[in-house]
Point group: C2
Chain length 334, copies 2
DNA sequence: GGCAATGATGTAACCGTTTTCATTTAAACA
DNA sequence: TGTTTAAATGAAAACGGTTACATCATTGCC
């Protein structure tokens, strides 16, 4: 691999001149500029960006901790990140952490070992360990989507409570009063917030909260299916089910069909996220749309601001949501 | 950020000794080893891996060009890559290229500019330009999933022709003779191969190939929906549809339902890929399972072999497929 | 023509490691 | 104790760029 010295030799100039020709051409006379450019071509010179990054101390890499790239919602978030990063001259290093703290910690180390400049965490978990937070203050990090809002780091999130309330209100307005909820993992603040929104709407409509209508889940199709089976076997079956994400809702709908329950005639189903599949299942799913790509763009922009020292106090960005009413929710029977 | 010199000063030894303590502890006396380790703790030393990579000339980064991370099949492939890479001490740099040659080329440059050691392309397109293939031979690259099989680079693929033939035979065995096909982009060799497999099975059963039963698509839900609409409006409607991927099949099924066609009673639908959703749609989709994670693992392993000079001639790995019969395909009417 | 100011180019230090080679220290042996 | 051998350590170069500073050449002006 030809290096800058080869170019300098070939052009009969110093390495400094080569560097200047490439970085600030105006500082070099046209004559030498041409000589150098010709030499660059001649020897097939490609600057070693590893050396540049090492010298500059800036890698222009951002590590993104994503619980699972197989989740369609995160896939959209990542797309948005990639776009924003490209515009700002950064590269995204994607880490598929499977929600495992050790793996998260492993990739977070890329920042403390100077392999990346900053970190974006998409899960409500602090991936840093004591060794990364010592003397010199905080490590550049942004927390998005599923967040811990302790004011330490910039945060990009949805008002999950308001969104869940809006969806529950929608179901109540259709005449439902026994509304089941298929939750996400209890460890996720998302789940807590959405549960609170659900309770808010219930309370507002004077419906007493019934703990037995809460079903466990983990955001997967299978978990939704399992919960759906349980629900369909209930003697006093609820007339609606609010699922904490679309995968869960699609899994549950499948279970209902196999139990010969018609959606929405026998039971209404609502999801959360508005993934692409949701418009193409039968019936199309009522859900909450989140601006997934915007989440990604915003997180990257914020992180780069942090890196450039443009941010003093950790900001908190709340993204808008939208209730998308399709055909999986309908009037309550009776 | 403390560097190795700070540690050396703090421990009262030379930088060489510090480096040895960390890399080959057995080459250092226990006494100094302890001194150094204590100093490492004291100053909070984290080796600058950017410097290490620069020095060694090896980045241990692999760039992966993926047409779209939003495709569930690719998401599985990526998971497999990440696993294998972690085991082998490599990091994956994911590039969401949207099938755009320029973006591909941009990320491919990371290899020629020493920011990554090798490249995995998941699309049947050569992302390299002339400047990358000059004198010193080929750039380390592996082509997986959608491949160009020109013998230049290692390849990991499925016998798409055989798989498509197997699926078509399945449909024929159910009594279908008018079998539509919703294709992928014509530019994709995948599409050509699957079309050939489809024709093979037809010919073997003495069914004349009917060009008018071919419908265009691009592997998206929407394209499947559009094709499904066209098919349902046909006067002499086919009794089965073979879709080149599951997204397309799910989109098509949705169109059939809206046209009041029952799957599989009125029309059978088959997919390709066996994504997670396919088992949870109504009816569950008959499809071809591909070992997606294995694709990823194999591609990474192969690339690392190339980087280690363990490979002479570009190997060609064919992964196995499996016909998964669910409920979306049934006996032909009449 | 002589001097100052400006522009063009070169020299060399620097970034943080690893590693070769030289040197010092310790151990082994007679 | 003196000599040989092995083990432990240190000094310094190297990786490939960028850049502060020094130097040299050119131009403008009196």
């Amino acid at each position: 691999m030809a290096n800058i010295r080869d170019v300098a030799d070939s052009a009969g100039v110093s390495v400094a001149t080569v560097s200047r020709t490439l970085q600030q051409p105006e500082r070099v006379s046209p004559k030498t500029r041409n000589k150098v450019m010709a030499a660059v071509q001649a020897v097939g010179y490609k600057p070693n960006l590893m050396a540049v990054k090492f010298r500059s101390g800036k890698t222009h890499n951002l590590v993104v901790l994503v619980p699972t790239v197989a989740n369609v919602f995160f896939a959209r978030v990542i797309s948005g990140m990639q776009e924003a990063a490209a515009e700002l001259g950064y590269s995204i290093l994607l880490a598929n952490t499977l929600g495992n703290s050790e793996i998260e910690n492993h990739y977070a180390k890329m920042v403390s070992t100077s392999q990346a400049d900053g970190l974006i965490q998409l899960r409500a978990n602090n991936p840093l360990d004591a060794s990364m937070i010592n003397d010199h203050g905080l490590l550049p990090m942004v927390n998005a989507c599923e967040v811990i809002d302790d004011g330490q780091y910039p945060v990009v999130s949805l008002d999950n409570r308001a969104a869940a309330k809006a969806m529950t209100e929608h179901l109540i307005s259709l005449g439902h009063s026994r509304i089941a909820m298929i939750k996400g993992p209890n460890s996720s603040p998302l789940t807590q917030e959405r549960l609170m929104g659900y309770k808010d709407a219930l309370a507002q409509a004077n419906i007493v909260f019934d703990e037995s209508l809460l079903f466990p889940g983990d955001f997967t199709l299978q978990a939704g299916y399992n919960a759906g089976e349980s629900i369909s076997r209930l003697e006093n079956r609820p007339s609606a089910v609010f699922c904490e994400n679309d995968e869960t809702a699609i899994g549950a709908m499948q279970a209902f069909k196999q139990a010969n329950l018609h959606v929405p005639k026998d039971i209404s189903v609502a999801g959360f996220d508005d993934i692409a599949f949701s418009a193409f299942v039968d019936p199309p799913l009522t859900t909450i749309a989140q601006p997934a790509e915007e989440f990604g763009r915003t997180a990257v922009t914020l992180l780069v601001d942090v890196l450039n020292g443009k941010i003093r106090k950790a900001p908190k960005v709340i993204m808008p949501f939208e209730l998308i009413v399709r055909e999986s929710t309908g009037k309550a029977f009776g």
